[in-house]
Symmetry: C2
Subunit: 183 residues, 2 copies
């Protein structure tokens, strides 16, 4: 499991052996239940215990804007900001020929279908800024452009960041993406 090496594994195992039997069985059952119950939302492919997830069913969320992310973790991260009130679409990864992941392995077809049918006012591509992420952003952007306005999140200095410690590519992007000051 990620982040669990041999020493941590041993510590966890010994801890479980010390606990009462009921507790351990409870944990085992919870793991089985989680695996059985949690699937993917039919619409946005975010993790969900129901066929359609809470975010897609939410009556007050903006239907006219869809935010496309690589992974369910990104949905959770964006939800924490409490800034975004639209819908999501989880691709389930990024295009990475080195790892054998092409567009057909991702939820891109369902996204294009969804956008061409629903015609949202805007699709925000919020895919991580790596080489694979950039490829995916351009690929998906090109497919969606005939149907709607396609935007991407800003790249630049993180808050509390320092020009001196930023890498050259980030600084160049921050300069390139400069915006007029509005008071």
């Amino acid at each position: 499991m990620p982040g669990v090496g041999p020493k941590t594994a041993q510590r966890l195992a010994l801890h479980l052996l010390k606990r009462p039997e009921a507790d351990v069985e409870g944990l085992a059952q919870a793991i089985i239940d989680a695996k059985k119950q949690v699937g993917l939302c039919k619409i946005c492919h975010h993790l969900s215990a129901e066929p359609v997830c809470d975010l897609c069913r939410h009556p007050n969320r903006d239907n006219t804007i869809i935010c496309v992310v690589g992974d369910s973790r990104d949905v959770i991260a964006l939800e924490k900001t409490r800034e975004y009130q639209g819908k999501y679409h989880v691709l389930g990864g990024v295009i990475s020929p080195m790892d054998g992941i092409g567009p057909e392995q991702l939820n891109i077809e369902s996204l294009v279908r969804r956008v061409s049918q629903q015609r949202p006012q805007e699709v925000i591509l919020a895919i991580n800024p790596s080489v694979e992420g950039e490829t995916t952003t351009l690929y998906v952007g090109q497919l969606l452009k005939p149907f709607t306005k396609v935007t991407r999140i800003a790249f630049g200095l993180p808050m509390g960041g320092d020009l001196e410690y930023a890498d050259e590519v980030t600084l160049a992007r921050a300069l390139e993406g400069r915006r007029e000051l509005d008071f």
Copy 2:
């Protein structure tokens, strides 16, 4: 000195004592010379051995654009990107009432004079995104707005960054600063 604690100081001192006398005198002289010769550029306040620095005197740099930074270190960082070909203006810090630094302690008056006389096409505010930096950006921006177009660098995800690990404020800024995809 920054980054030199008691142990490092002792190591450096003992190292110098072991070196030939000529070497040590050379170092001492170099320090004296550096302090004597390096001053601030009369125009942009960047570090310079001449009254006017290399960047201000450079014949091929764009005179119609000025990039305002807090510190000389930021000029060096931006120069490393090789993306920016305009001029600079170094404020010499940011507005920070807690540390007793007000606008009059910074090179803001000379900036306003320079902009009102030269009338560049654009002033880019490239000040670090901290609370003090934001205050400075807004203060300087308001002063310069009557004379020219004022922009600021982009804030958002750094390159190679990950939505999952970005703090909420950075993510919110990245969403807010989204731009239309251009192919």
